[in-house]
């Protein structure tokens, strides 16, 4: 979607055979502003075409030049991701539907996150369901079999009335679609904060795997080749999804009125579409393939045609829109072109292969219709009822949209917020054992730290028989090869509060945490994707946050030696004038030689030594403790040290490979206390902890300093492991042993596992009802 935005469209001088402008010589003003185009943008369209656009053309430009499709505000900032380190593994980088990474043994992995925030606010079930469906087709388009999903979700306060509407609907939508597709859901996040009250964030990451040689292209090449539409019929659902929903701000309460702009999902159709496309790829029957997502046929036709021309071969496309199977025969041309009906793919097929393609589709019960032909005219020409309604240079829509350098301004209140740090003088801290005990129980039951089982038990994590680890583990882990154990790990992380306090550091902390999570599971991070959720780009303060986050992420990737392989930008996440906290969500892909070496989080072996890796400082800015106990957000987020993160990751992976660890858990929101509770409950064992002389138990237990993890090490491996840490220069401290049926922190608190479990697991069922 991010083409080269340099040269203006090279408009053809040849007059089209049947000028679509002929019947539109009226001087009446066209409704371009209502379609979201500016005066300048409209003038540019007229200059590109050398005439007034037709209604259909105007509709196409309006969606393709929308923020969602053109990345017009973000492009100048996203370019720096191209400078992130490339590796030999990178087969397809930024700019395609999804990045592709060579993982060895002849296999390639592709992964990407996308947002479906606005549709999910308007209609939670269908919005979330079609969000999953859309990202799955992006992965399929690359030639891969989709093999798992992760869902980073953000809602308003857990007890806010609208959260009771959005959360159950979103979760049911993700489950309803993903479960019916046979895709395991192996991770994600659920975060509550009032900043998302009128604008929940529904992001979805999909990962797929394919033989290295099966990577597909979207280019429409080969003059005379057939253009085939596969999958569902086209209806009026989702018209204006990208321009009406995704590229504008909601006013208070304006959501549900836009329901007709939300697409409706049919996972069964998607399932048979996936199976039929995979068989088409395996049999080498398509020369090009593109999914239909935002902007529907408009986007697929222009992008495939533009990509074909970009290869340097003769290209162009003639399409007869009358051949598109419709749900509603009364649809107009511009509606057919703009419809975002789900479960559709566009394939470019040689005439020789066409009969086989149609037969294969029929066997799967998938509708397949030839709607056009690849030409050598250099133009995309669309006919409707015998008349030419579109005649455009495709690059002008797909690649040469407007690019804006929006003004940036540091938020006016940022210095004040940053100065209001959560010091001991500012916020009362627990000091006695009883206060620490009460704080811990309150923290682990708080909405952002409590058990996610209410949500994740509604997702199938077993299907496809390859899931080695899934939530609540640090990362989702999948086995790719039964013979060798080759496998991957995936984690997504983001913290809007950290990013509100410092968007540069916030993006880096999200990257660091996602890397830490895949390393804690035992894998080596190899690639990064992102979903950048922000307010309106027309607000200079939001744009400053965005620029800072992009710069922070790019720098972090350079420091860690990781490529950004793709991503998604979601702007206009705000209600009225109030933007959400800047929320960069980062996904990291990790690689295992052998997933049998994975490290789970649960403490399972009595007597194992517990070792805290990294260093703890008094860092509570943007912390869960400050929020849960004082509703406070201020100060600076924890410091990021990428050299330390890298070292920690290497130690965690080495410990896993050499069989020195029985458990590992990264430390993040909620600090050491949260990690210990989760590991104890997951493994069903208690822990005896000695924090050490001269330490402040409150800081030790609840600080959110980055670059830390707790590991469980069998006694027989303890010396070898700690020697390795010492030699490599990673600070470590023995803090206790796995023991008994309680979490016992010497001189501070003792809480039985049953009491911990009741506190940790009761919150979401109490808010949203029992599921079984």
């Amino acid at each position: 979607m991010t083409g080269n935005p340099t040269a203006p469209a090279a408009t053809s001088e040849t007059t089209p055979a049947a000028s679509p402008g002929a019947q539109s010589t009226s001087t009446a003003e066209q409704p371009y502003r209502e379609l979201g185009l500016t005066d300048d943008e409209y003038a540019r369209i007229v200059a590109t075409l050398g005439r007034r656009p037709t209604d259909a053309e105007l509709a196409m430009y309006s969606v393709m030049w929308s923020e969602h499709c053109s990345y017009k505000s973000s492009k100048v900032h996203l370019r720096q991701f191209r400078d992130t380190p490339s590796t030999d593994r990178l087969l397809v980088g930024m700019g395609e539907n999804a990045g592709v990474v060579d993982v060895g043994e002849g296999l390639a992995v592709t992964f990407k996150i996308e947002s479906h925030n606005h549709p999910s606010f308007v209609e939670p079930y269908q919005g979330a369901a079609t969000g999953v469906g859309g990202i799955v087709r992006d992965i399929l388009t690359m030639g891969a079999r989709p093999i798992a999903v992760l869902d980073p979700l953000r809602f308003g306060d857990a007890d806010a009335p609208d959260t009771a509407r959005t959360l159950p609907g979103v979760v049911a939508g993700i489950g309803g679609y993903g479960n019916c597709l046979g895709l395991p859901t192996i991770g994600g996040e659920i975060v509550f904060d009032p900043t998302y009250a009128g604008n929940p964030l529904v992001n979805a990451l999909c990962v797929g795997v394919m033989p290295v040689g099966r990577v597909q292209t979207s280019a429409a090449t080969g003059v005379g080749n057939a253009v085939v539409l596969l999958g569902a019929k086209t209806g009026r659902d989702g018209i204006g999804g990208v321009s009406v929903l995704a590229s504008a701000t909601f006013d208070e309460g304006g959501g549900p009125a836009r329901r007709p702009s939300v697409q409706v999902g049919d996972p069964f159709t998607e399932k048979i579409l996936i199976e039929s496309c995979l068989e088409l790829f395996d049999r080498g029957l398509v020369t090009g393939i593109q999914d239909l997502g935002g902007a529907g046929l408009t986007c697929a036709l222009t992008e495939t045609t533009a990509a074909g021309l970009a290869t340097g071969q003769p290209g162009g496309m003639d399409v007869d829109l009358d051949l598109v199977p419709l749900r509603e025969p009364s649809m107009a041309a511009h509606e057919v072109l703009a419809s975002e009906s789900q479960e559709r793919m566009l394939a470019i097929v040689t005439p020789e292969a066409l009969p086989e393609v149609l037969a294969l589709a029929e066997r799967w019960g998938v509708l397949a219709t030839r709607i056009g032909t690849v030409t050598d005219t250099g133009r995309l020409i669309v006919r409707w009822h015998g008349e030419v309604v579109v005649d455009v240079p495709p690059g002008s829509l797909a690649d040469d949209g407007p690019v804006y350098e929006r003004p940036l301004r540091r938020p006016a209140d940022l210095d004040l917020v940053r100065a209001d740090g959560p010091t001991a003088a500012r916020l009362a801290r627990p000091t006695t054992g009883a206060q620490l005990r009460q704080t811990l129980l309150r923290m682990i039951a708080s909405p952002n730290l409590c058990s996610r089982a209410w949500v994740t038990d509604q997702y199938d994590r077993y299907v496809q028989a390859a899931t080695v680890l899934a939530q609540p583990e640090d990362a989702g882990v999948l086995r790719l090869s039964e013979e060798t154990g080759l496998g991957i790990a995936l984690a997504t992380d983001g913290n809007g509060r950290y990013a509100r306090l410092d968007p540069f550091a916030g993006a880096q902390l999200a990257l660091a945490e996602a890397c830490r999570n895949v390393s804690a599971a035992g894998s080596v991070p190899i690639a990064v994707t992102n979903c950048l959720n922000f307010g309106s780009p027309e607000d200079p303060e939001v744009m400053w946050q965005f620029a800072q986050a992009c710069a922070g992420l790019a720098e972090g990737c350079r420091r860690l030696g990781l490529p950004v392989t793709g991503g998604n930008v979601s702007f206009y996440n705000q209600t009225g004038a109030a933007p959400i906290h800047p929320t960069p969500v980062i996904g990291v892909l990790g690689l295992f030689d052998d997933v049998a070496r994975r490290t789970p989080i649960g403490f399972t072996d009595e007597g194992d030594a517990l070792i805290l890796l990294g260093e703890t400082a008094d860092e509570f800015g943007g912390s869960e403790w400050a929020w849960v106990t004082h509703r406070h957000l201020g100060g600076a987020p924890p410091a990021v040290d990428f050299a330390r993160e890298k070292l920690l990751g290497e130690v965690l992976v080495a410990g896993s490979r050499d069989g020195m660890l029985t458990a590992a858990h990264d430390l993040s929101e909620g600090g050491l206390a949260q990690a210990l509770v989760e590991s104890c409950l997951r493994g069903g064992r208690g822990a005896r902890i000695v924090l050490g002389d001269g330490t402040d138990p409150f800081v030790e237990l609840f600080s959110e300093s980055a670059g830390r993890a707790v590991v469980a090490v069998p006694r027989s491996e303890e010396l070898r492991f700690t020697d390795m840490c010492t030699v490599r220069g990673l600070p470590w401290r023995r803090i206790g042993v796995v023991d008994g049926d309680a979490l016992d922190v010497q001189d501070a608190l003792r809480i039985g596992l049953d009491e911990l479990r009741d506190a940790h697991e009761g919150t979401l069922p109490a808010l949203f009802g029992r599921t079984a």
Binding site: A172, G175, G176, N179, C180, L181, G182, D266, P267, F268, T269, K271, I272, E275, R363, W364, G365, T456, D457, Q458, Y459, D460, R461, Y462, V463, Q464, A465, A466, T467, V468, R479, E482, G485, V595, A596, R770, T771, A772
Partner: protein, 236 residues
């Protein structure tokens, strides 16, 4: 390291796994068949030839989208039509989750599977009790044995008339029951039942996701697949 094979009694038994449009756990069931030491044979819903297999598994998923009623359309497919005749002649048949729903719709098993009482899809490692080892699919277990196998479904609440429930209980045809919490409100905590001849069995839990320590809930499901092999060997 991965799947655990059976002992030396490796056979060439061939077990068919039917794929409908919308089947999801079909490849997983085939892996479990292989882990048990048999040869999986892919069967296509549109064919009516059982390819001479020694037993058939109807896997989990959402056949034809389950839009009318779970299993209601699959029941009319050419493959299931052929299977109904063969199963009535004694061909061992196992329906897992959606497969159980298809067997009920096909009249090979009594009762029906309806929406979970909690109205939510439930995925969890479920504790179960094997109530009888006297079926083609449980003979490698002990009656009364407790096992853990994943459940994952939205329509798993077994319902039947009081007469049918009494009949099932009286003839030892309740094969598995849920323990430690009924996930779906099933009558009498029923997780699986068999036909009068004890060759056709359906269950909501997924034994194919408990045949590999690394990717499943454990190994408690493997013996469901070895059971049918044991029976086939005994008959030869």
């Amino acid at each position: 390291m991965d799947a655990v094979g059976t002992d030396a009694t490796t056979t060439t038994a061939r077990i068919g796994v039917v794929t409908f449009p919308g089947s999801l756990d079909d490849r997983d069931a085939a892996l479990a068949v292989r882990a048990a030491g048999a040869e999986p044979v892919a069967l296509w819903h549109g064919d009516d030839d059982l390819a001479g297999v020694d037993a058939v598994i109807l896997p989990g998923g959402f056949s034809y989208g389950d839009y009318l009623r779970a299993g209601a359309i699959a029941r009319f497919s050419p493959m299931v039509t052929a299977l109904i005749a063969a199963a009535r002649d004694g061909l061992p048949t196992l329906g897992i989750c959606n497969g159980f729903q298809v067997l009920c719709e096909a009249g090979l098993l009594p009762g029906a599977l309806t929406r979970n009482a909690g109205l939510h899809f439930v995925c969890r490692d479920q504790r179960l009790r094997i109530e009888t080892a006297a079926t083609a699919w449980t003979r490698d277990y002990q009656a009364g044995e407790e096992i853990v196998i994943p459940v994952k479904h939205g329509d798993g609440r077994f319902v039947a008339s009081p007469e049918v429930l009494a009949e099932l209980a009286a003839h030892d045809r309740i094969v598995l029951r849920y323990l430690d919490g009924n996930p779906n409100g099933s009558a009498d905590d029923i997780a699986g039942v068999c036909n009068a001849e004890r060759t056709v069995m359906g269950l909501m839990p997924h034994p194919e996701h408990a045949v590999d320590e690394l990717t499943g809930s454990g190994l408690d499901g493997l013996r469901m697949f070895t059971s049918v092999l044991t029976g086939l060997l005994a008959n030869t």
